[in-house]
């Protein structure tokens, strides 16, 4: 079982948090902070498994994470999951994001956290892995997006126009943070089949 899936950036800002077990919201924030501290102090080329973290702990649990450019993807899993399998799953997740957002970068994830959730929902459900095949995931996500679009229909047009206008202001906005190396590089790992 997967206990939680967290995404945060190099500064510990949460980008996505999905808990498959109930915690109070304070505990959740504490877990995110603590996990960030544990993960961020590790070197680049050390192993991607971590034991401990008091909150999410228990000897049965492990943190499995990957670090892509500015983002950390952390899965907290118990011993029924294969460590390497989860690493591959993270890779699949990131690759899927990359496909769905077309060259995904942190900004995409910041502004479309709902979409990220929807993609994730096609991969992991209630803490259990639902689908590992990227094509299948993308098909389902696309089909749902299509439905959403068709529902919006003509009525959605003005809203889209407005958001387009709003987005035109984009350039002045995010430049103050470092976007230089923000593109998530998806390394070519032996894919999990």
């Amino acid at each position: 079982m997967i206990k939680a899936i967290l995404m945060f950036n190099n500064h510990g800002k949460p980008r996505l948090s999905k808990f498959y077990e109930h915690y109070t919201k304070d505990t959740e924030q504490q877990i995110i902070r603590e996990t960030f501290h544990l993960v961020s102090k590790r070197d680049e080329n050390v192993c991607n498994f971590l034991e401990g973290g008091m909150l999410i702990g228990g000897s049965d649990y492990k943190l499995i994470y990957r670090h892509y450019a500015t983002l950390y993807f952390v899965f907290c899993v118990d011993s029924s999951e294969s460590e390497l399998g989860i690493l591959d799953l993270i890779q699949v997740f990131v690759e899927t994001l990359d496909k769905c957002f077309e060259n995904v970068c942190e900004l995409d994830l910041i502004f479309h956290v709902d979409k990220v959730h929807n993609i994730l929902a096609e991969m992991v459900m209630g803490g259990m892995v639902l689908e590992t095949n990227m094509n299948e995931i993308i098909t389902q996500v696309d089909a749902q997006n299509k439905m959403e679009k068709s529902e919006a229909g003509i009525a959605g047009a003005p809203a889209r126009a407005v958001s387009a206008v709003k987005n035109m202001k984009l350039p002045e906005m995010p430049r103050n943070i470092n976007i230089g190396d923000i593109n998530i590089k998806v390394p070519n790992l032996p894919s999990f089949k």
């Binding site: 079982m1 949460p14 996505l16 948090s17 999905k18 498959y20 109930h22 919201k25 304070d26 959740e28 924030q29 070197d43 080329n45 050390v46 192993c47 991607n48 498994f49 971590l50 034991e51 029924s80 294969s82 460590e83 390497l84 399998g85 690493l87 591959d88 910041i110 502004f111 479309h112 956290v113 709902d114 959730h117 929807n118 929902a121 459900m125 209630g126 803490g127 259990m128 892995v129 639902l130 689908e131 590992t132 095949n133 299948e136 389902q140 089909a143 749902q144 439905m147 959403e148 529902e151 407005v162 958001s163 709003k166 987005n167 906005m173 995010p174 943070i177 032996p190 999990f192 089949k193």
Partner: protein
């Protein structure tokens, strides 16, 4: 400035969406909290609006804020509103928000049940999907109970997308509602062989998760999983299965034997590291479960170790880590094979990655032996010096102590070395583990008598150099060792070379800065030292030394008397007065030494931590009765006997985490002041000691203390001269021991060689080996000095040790359910009906009666099975005696024989068999024996017994089965030696296919049981309800036989899933019909087309562009034995009349040689009941409804109904989709609503066997028909 205003107004013009919110937060870095609070206010405004789009937008933003840690629970109701939107876009937002914020104590969850149910049965698969996903996050016991049945149905949905989600969510449902596990399990098991890999993977996932917690209940699935393992190519599934096997093997060693070979093959063949790793892991688990090593297993171990070495040597840190992790598992059972890789592991200690270093440390723990302990610890000590981070250093420290102290100091040959290691460790700065070192020192000094002299000397130096340790004491945990040092010096002060000096060291003013509990020990032990000094000076006529000592005490103790610590103060003032008194006596030249030392006299023994608990209560002693008058309330406050006892409770230092100061050692003090009962206890203890083989017997005079300990006689004198310099505690001395040890061992070896020769001769002369199986026999290293490690004392006839208790709160405990037991009738998932009716279901007596009814045939069946089994066993034996080739031939013959036998049996079975209900039990019990069978490596495939079973089950279609069975037996030869991996792959494939068929046969049987009796024949729509009469059965009973021929069988769900689209009740409502297609023959069915002749009133909905008479392709093909479900939507104009639709199903039967076109006609029957939807209604609304004038009434009278009233109601609810509004005694009001919004109200009264139903409805025709149908239902029972 102006620009800002303009911008602000534009922002207000359009609602902020999520992107705007995020952007806003980013632009307000400085006053984020303030900005967000204004946003939340806006959101609150938006939520008040009626527009669902605005609400959804607001909820979407809340979901984001929730992630940032803001409380959004106040919006729970709005989330529910958004969830229930008919638009997918909003629904998805709602469910996402719910999955993020809802949890079990969210009260609005109660409101969602119906909404979720509606979404689950939505024709749009993504509505269903989104509901399932959301539900998986916030399912509660109530939701699980209410929706279990709906989810069960979805498990056989036509869309694999829904199926896999439904399967997966079942795990959550089981957790919350364990009662659903058994009814749902058969279907879950079916899904293991679902044609869609995703569904299959989901089922594997769920079963693995279940089995991990309660493996023994899932052993019977092992053959199935084994098959999947050998056939699946999906690594994810393989990993799960292999992990599952890892959990199963400890329960069934035979399984392990079977697994080794395919796993080894996988290890050799796979390129995926993840799979390789899990295989190795499971092989290790298998090897652990097989206690006695079979010859070829050493090869498996070698393979594992070798593969792991490759992993560890890999540059990928992850593999390295996992390799070490797996290695530590092998270590437990096969330490030798790991020890050969010591070099590699020591190398990992230098790795820059801390996780890897820690793993390597774990491994070292198991790798030590007497030979290499010193060497390994030496290396670790080097690492301790090098380590920078305190956490890692602390870890090293605990590991060193763990390694040395493991299994009762088994590997320590030289305790002097160990003591010096401990002393060296005290030089660590800033460690948290001072108390750990201290407890080790105490433990060793107490339990290893021979080491006391050395230990005391070391401790004395430690005390002398205490200032080195306590340099910066505040944050220094190391000063804890002083506790141990002081205590050891005091307790064993007779071994001190210079007690005066130590006493002086203990009474230095600086001691007052130590923590209180340490000071207390100092004071107490100073008194002991004082006693020793007095005693040593006893014979001495010159009293200056004693005088000086007393003076020293009197001078120094006042510092402690002023201590803030109560314990220190009390002890100090007590002792101070005592010393003053002694001084007085000394001045009068009175001999006091004897008396003073008697204060601290006594034999000291380590006592096991749990000893106190385990003292059995003597017979006739009732601990709860008062031995005198119970004290009054006020008195009891003063007396706290409990507190005293807890303090006296002996604990022993072996438990690592007990704080040193908590430790109390049981001590029998013999002094003049000791009360009489102590003497009695001492007697008892002596006796106990006499009985205890581990106890070192002391001389009878335990009063004469502080002489040489009498037990020492049989301890060989220490050979090492104590001239080893110990004066500077800062120097690492342990190294010298390593050298010394080397020399000693060499000497010994030489001696031993001589002795060995002698010994051998002796042995040959026939003397049995000493049964002393100590570790010495493994390695020929004798300890430097024979050390008697005193075992911890336990009371006589101590109770057996407590079992580890499972966490009672573990939700998985509830899932420890025997799945092989046959389903009882009472076990079912609550069917979708109004709660009130549900509660009023089947009385207990009925259940019992049913239970008996089903039990009888079951027993008979059991016997038959056994006989069959016997037969098989015989076959097997016979076969075994013959060689391979003959075996094959022979078997196919025998199988035919079996088949015939089954056919002969069949009529008998039929006549005996009162119902199909007895079938599943047999199949289950058969499964268990299947497992044994499968595990017994017998070559006979399980097929043989399947065929007769199926034959028995399909009474009506016996002829087919026989022909089917005959076909079955044809390709039998390759089935031999079922799991032989060496078989050519072609054969394998056939075999698998074959097995699949078997399974499907079984499955078929299930359908028979659940769905329908076979005798019903073609015209069966109404008849379909006949079976249901006995008891409202689980959901599946909704299916009734539609049509059937020798190829295919169609079951129709009685238009139960009725719904309307977007609440549009006016023009044309829709009815969904689920049809299960089941392939009954042995050929592949494909190109199935489903067509219905539309009537004016009802039309089959066809995809756009197709003509009104075109048939719909069934979206799947059916391999032999498989069944699948398709749903068809019909548009219905008028619902007041029942409808019949004629239809045809055409399909192609494809056999190996040919394919034929076949068709099957059927009639779809829509009863008026099927247009009703179970709709709950409150009594006040109901009353209002009845008052309104536009309802027409009608009534019907049923005679001769003899069933309990609640039963009757349940039946109406179940079959006719009503819900109970109110029930008073034998009168009840019921309500239902048609898909077009007609209200149907019933008033049901019963008196005797007569039931009268008065009904009101706004559509008389509909009402009449519904009443007719109700009447019909009851006339059939």
């Amino acid at each position: 400035m102006a620009l800002k205003i303009v911008k602000g107004s534009i922002d207000r013009m359009f609602d902020k969406n999520l992107q705007d919110l995020v952007r806003g937060i980013r632009n307000h870095k400085d006053d984020e909290a303030k900005y967000i609070s204004t946003c939340i206010d806006e959101i609150k405004q938006e939520l008040k609006q009626d527009n669902i789009a605005v609400k959804a937008n607001a909820v979407c933003k809340l979901t984001y804020l929730q992630m940032l840690g803001y409380d959004v629970s106040w919006a729970a109701f709005n989330i529910v509103e958004v969830m229930s939107s008919s638009k997918f876009t909003y629904k998805r937002i709602g469910y996402l928000a719910a999955s993020q914020c809802f949890h079990e104590s969210t009260d609005v969850i109660m409101l969602t049940t119906n909404q979720i149910r509606k979404d689950l049965s939505s024709p749009n698969q993504y509505d269903t999907g989104v509901a399932l996903t959301g539900l998986s996050c916030f399912v509660t016991p109530d939701l699980a109970r209410d929706l279990a049945n709906d989810i069960m149905t979805l498990m056989s949905h036509t869309k694999p997308y829904i199926r896999k989600k439904a399967v997966l969510i079942m795990y959550k449902v089981f957790l919350k509602y364990p009662e659903s596990l058994r009814p749902a399990f058969p279907r879950l098991k079916e899904k293991l062989e679902d044609p869609d890999p995703g569904v299959q993977s989901a089922a594997v996932n769920v079963i693995c998760e279940l089995a991990r917690r309660n493996p023994k209940n899932y052993l019977s699935l092992a053959p199935l999983f084994f098959k999947l393992m050998t056939s699946s190519t999906n690594n994810w599934v393989l990993i799960k299965i292999i992990k599952l096997f890892g959990a199963l093997t400890p329960l069934e060693p035979r399984l392990g034997k079977k697994l080794i070979e395919p796993l080894t093959n996988l290890i050799h063949s796979t390129s995926a590291m993840s799979l390789l790793y899990e295989c190795v892991n499971t092989v290790i688990a298998v090897l652990i479960s097989l206690s006695s090593g079979m010859p070829n297993h050493s090869a498996s171990i070698q393979l594992c170790v070798q593969k792991l070495r490759i992993l560890i040597e890999d540059s990928d840190q992850n593999l390295k880590y996992l390799g070490l992790l797996a290695m530590s598992k092998i270590l437990k059972t096969h330490p030798k094979s790991v020890q050969s890789h010591k070099d590699l592991i020591l190398q990992c200690l230098d790795d820059k990655d801390e996780s890897i270093r820690l793993r390597a440390l774990d491994l070292l723990y198991g790798m030590v032996s007497k030979k290499n302990l010193m060497e390994i610890v030496k290396k670790l000590m080097l690492h301790v010096d090098k380590a920078e981070g305190t956490t890692y250093r602390d870890e090293l420290l605990t590991k060193i102590i763990d390694i040395c102290s493991q299994s009762n100091y088994q590997y320590i040959t030289n305790f002097e070395w160990y003591i010096s290691i401990l002393v060296e460790l005290t030089r660590l700065e800033g460690t948290r583990h001072g108390h750990l070192i201290a407890s080790q020192m105490l433990d060793v000094a107490i339990r290893v008598k021979a080491i006391r002299v050395f230990a005391v000397a070391q401790m004395a130096t430690l005390l002398d150099n205490a200032h080195l340790l306590t340099g910066n004491m505040q944050r220094n945990g190391i000063c804890e060792v002083l506790y141990a040092a002081a205590w050891i010096c005091g307790e064993f002060s007779e071994h001190l070379e210079n007690p005066m000096q130590t006493l002086e060291a203990m009474l230095r003013p600086k001691v007052a800065t130590l923590p209180g509990h340490i000071q207390a020990v100092y004071v107490q032990n100073a008194a002991k030292l004082f006693a020793t000094v007095l005693k040593s000076q006893e014979g001495n006529t010159d009293g200056t030394v004693t005088q000086d000592t007393s003076q020293l005490m009197i001078e120094r103790l006042p510092v402690f008397v002023q201590s803030a610590n109560l314990e220190v103060q009390e002890r100090a003032s007590c002792i101070l007065q005592l010393v003053k008194y002694i001084q007085k006596l000394q001045q009068k030249d009175v001999e006091v030494a004897e008396e003073v030392s008697a204060l601290f006299a006594g034999e000291l023994n380590p006592v096991a931590p749990k000893a106190q608990k385990k003292v059995p209560v003597p017979e006739g002693l009732d601990l709860d009765t008062w031995i005198n008058e119970p004290p009054s309330e006020s008195e009891s406050e003063d007396e706290q006997p409990k507190a005293i006892f807890t303090k006296e409770e002996p604990k022993h230092s072996r438990a690592r985490h007990t704080e040193v100061d908590e430790k109390e050692l049981a001590r029998v003090r013999c002094s003049k002041t000791v009360a009489a009962f102590t003497a009695i206890r001492r007697e008892a203890r002596k006796q106990e000691q006499a009985n205890n083989p581990f106890y070192i017997k002391s001389s009878p005079s335990s009063q004469k203390v502080y002489q040489e300990t009498p037990g020492v006689d049989h301890i060989p004198v220490i050979q090492i001269d104590l001239t080893v310099p110990l004066k500077v505690p800062g120097l690492p001395m342990s190294d010298q021991y390593v050298k010394l040890e080397e020399e000693r061992r060499q000497k010994e070896r030489a001696e031993k060689k001589k002795k060995d020769k002698k010994k051998r001769k002796e042995k040959r002369s026939g003397r049995g080996k000493k049964h002393d199986s100590g570790p010495e026999s493994e390695e020929d290293i004798t300890p430097a000095h024979m050390v008697d490690i005193v075992t911890e004392e336990m009371p006589e006839n101590a109770l057996p040790s407590d079992d580890d208790e499972k966490d009672p709160n573990d939700p998985h405990k509830a899932l420890d359910i025997d799945l092989d037991k046959p389903l009882a009738d009472s076990e079912k998932i609550p069917v979708r009906s109004h709660r009130a009716a549900e509660a009023a279901k089947s009385p207990v007596e009925d259940r019992d009666a049913d239970g008996i009814a089903t039990q009888l045939p079951k027993k008979k069946h059991g016997k038959e099975k056994r006989e069959e089994k016997k037969k098989k066993d015989k076959d097997r034996e016979r076969k075994k005696s013959k060689d391979e080739k003959k075996k094959k031939k022979h078997k196919s013959e025998e199988k035919d024989g079996d088949l015939l036998g089954a056919e002969v049996d069949e009529p008998v079975v039929q006549s005996e068999e009162p119902s199909q209900a007895s079938e599943p039990p047999t199949s289950n019990s058969a499964e268990v024996s299947d497992l044994d069978f499968w595990l017994s490596n017998a070559p006979v495939p399980s097929n043989i017994q399947e065929v007769p079973k199926v034959a028995a089950a399909e009474a009506a279609s016996a002829a087919e089965v026989i022909s089917g069975g005959a076909q079955d037996s044809e390709p039998d030869e390759p089935k031999d030696a079922e799991m032989e991996a060496t078989k050519p792959s072609k054969h394998k494939k056939k075999k698998q296919k074959k097995e699949k068929e078997d399974k499907e046969k079984k499955k078929k049987k299930h359908h028979h049981y659940h769905h329908h009796s076979d005798g019903v024949g073609e015209e069966s729509v109404q008849n379909g309800t006949v079976e249901e009469e006995e008891e409202p059965l689980p959901s599946m009973s909704n299916y009734c036989l539609l049509a059937e021929n020798s190829y295919i069988k169609m079951m129709m769900e009685d238009a139960d899933q009725v719904y309307d689209i977007q609440g549009n009740l006016q023009d044309g409502s829709q009815v969904v019909v689920s049809v299960i297609f089941e392939n009954k023959c042995d050929s592949f069915l494909k190109s199935m087309e489903f067509n219905v002749l539309d009537s004016l009133n009802s039309k089959l909905q066809r995809p756009e562009g197709s003509g009104p008479h075109d048939s719909l392709a069934v979206p799947f093909q059916l391999p032999p034995g498989v069944s699948n479900e398709a749903r068809y939507v019909f548009t219905v104009q008028s619902i007041v009349m029942p409808q019949k639709l004629k239809g045809t199903l055409t399909f192609i039967v494809k056999t190996e040689e040919s394919s034929t076109h076949e068709k099957l006609d059927f009639k779809l029957h829509f009863t008026c009941t099927s247009y009703l939807i179970t709709t709950p209604c409150y009594s006040d609304a109901f009353a209002k409804l009845l008052e309104s004038a536009d309802l027409k009434s009608s009534s019907v009278r049923l005679e001769g109904v003899n069933m309990p009233f609640h039963h009757l109601l349940a039946r109406i609810c179940f079959h006719h989709h009503f819900s109970v509004v109110e029930r008073i005694d034998s009168c009840a009001s019921m309500y239902s609503r048609s898909i077009q919004g007609h209200h149907v109200c019933l008033l049901v009264k019963t008196s005797g066997q007569t039931v009268s139903i008065d009904a009101k409805c706004d559509e008389p025709m509909l009402l009449g028909n519904v009443l007719d149908e109700i009447k019909q239902t009851f006339s059939q029972c």
